[in-house]
Amino acid sequence: MALSLSNPARRRLRTLGFLSPWLVGFSVFFAYPLIATVYFSFMHYNQIKEPTFVGLRNWKYVFDQMPLFGPALWNTLWLVVIMVAVRVVFGLSLGLLITKIKTGAGFFRTAFYLPYLAPPVAATVAFVFLLNPGTGPVNEILDAVGISGPNWFNDPDTAKPSLVLLSLWGIGDLMVIFMASLLDVPKEQYEAADLDGAGAWAKFRYVTWPAITPIVMFAVVTGVVQTMQYYTQALVAGKVASGVNIGPGSVIQPGYPDHSTLTVPQLVYQMGFQNFNTGAACVLSLVLFAIAMAVTLLLMRKRSGLLSAED
């Protein structure tokens, strides 16, 4: 054993051995499909006949002629900006609130955290029911207090905000992350600020905020990446709210109402698995990839704390 440790070649082999599951996984399930996606984006391929090279024709088609690309990109970017901003602000507020709670903290923590665990499909189906304009409990209650409720998932103007509302119900993970980082801020700094006569806002601005900035960055980066993939909730909300009977295999126009909930990932699915336009679907995938990477790199340059625990 002692011999094997002093032998660099064997040590390298041992490292490779431990890393092998990931090395295989990375090459087969990440590197290969990524390269293949680029390859197919230059091919005409309907998944039956052999692919043929068409140069930039898929790219031109997506950017110039695909009618749904504009709305899908707009919806995705809308969700990325609004949903991430609202989630971070609300998650941070909830984190602050939970650190101030003295009585029943366990109950409140559980109540705020639990919805995060609800399976997205179940949560979405439940919200479409709750926010049903005609018979849903929410509009019933709003009616009772004299407010006529909006049409929520059935109105193009409120469909995306309704999705934001649904995402706030599942804010539990962010709340816990913020709570933990808020509890990590050194108490002495607050005491020092107290001695200087700092008010609540000054304490937040000059003590809390600098201490939690890396976590906020982390939340923003992961939030952006998650929202770029936003799929299940948008798809299920659109389908269930439309009230159409959808059997498996039936092709419906996604993004009900009026494509207001159509996101780029849904378009990838539609192109790749319903229209069998592999080239266009791969172009859309790469657009998604480019935006996700660009935003991530931009935000990581500032300092995300992602690798801070190195060593």
């Binding site: 109950f107 790749g272 996700a292 190195e310």
Partner: protein, 301 residues
Amino acid sequence: MTTTTLTAPTAPERTAPARGPAAARARRKRVLHWIAVHSVAIGVALLFVLPFVFVFLTSVMSDSQAMSGDLWPDSWHWSNYREVFETPGFLDWWRNSLMYAGLGTLFTVCSAIPVAYALAKFRFRGRRTAMLLVISTMMLPPQVIVIPMYLVWAQQFHLSGTLWPLIIPMAFGDAYSIFLLRQFLLTIPKEYIESAKVDGCGEFRTMIKIVVPMAKPGITAIALFQFFYCWNDYFGPQIYAAQNPGAWTLSYGLESFKSAHAVNWNMTMAATLLVMAPVILVFFFAQKAFVEGVTLTGVKG
């Protein structure tokens, strides 16, 4: 110590029985602060809990009442739940979900442990690069690579219509689990590992005998996260299992359940709760591991 009633004095007041208008004002301010914080908390908690309550109440209503917009059931139709279970396919969806989540979790844990251990404790060239690659994998939207992957599984291996294309890759490391577990393993002091080596343990034995038992909370956390990821997954089963109802999972089946029961919100809500139930049950048994896992990714990361 905290107090549950407003009239009971809080600890500092008892030790320092200050009098006079200044002390009274300070006490009043504290009490008002307590009331303000807790009223906000109760208000927000209601908003978080009410969806569950309404979903449950609707799930025991009659068909017609569920359509009426009533909030409270006239009579309690517990048989809705039995009917959901008797829906053709529903039990298969349970079996498939359990298989996907169970095997997926097992594979993920077994493959993530050695990788995370190497990334946390071995020193080798390219360690930083490997870590960056793990993180960039985490950042990649699944839709980016799904088409070539689907073509391979469907055309080379003829496995479309099954959940295997989703389960097999988990035997080759899941970036998120590797990342999380590595962050956890960083907190295990070097000394334990070194002393095991002095006692003549090889790396593999050190990992199994020393590191795995010490990393139990971290391993539990990745197992739970992976289990729920699989349980909640909709996109994966839609890609691979859509054409074959016999391979549907609960998450995928639920939406088609709604379509089949277009007007039966009561049945749909009962099914919705049944899909949520396992997740919530497991949470109550493993609360600590969860919170630990979430904070680990966010804070120590």
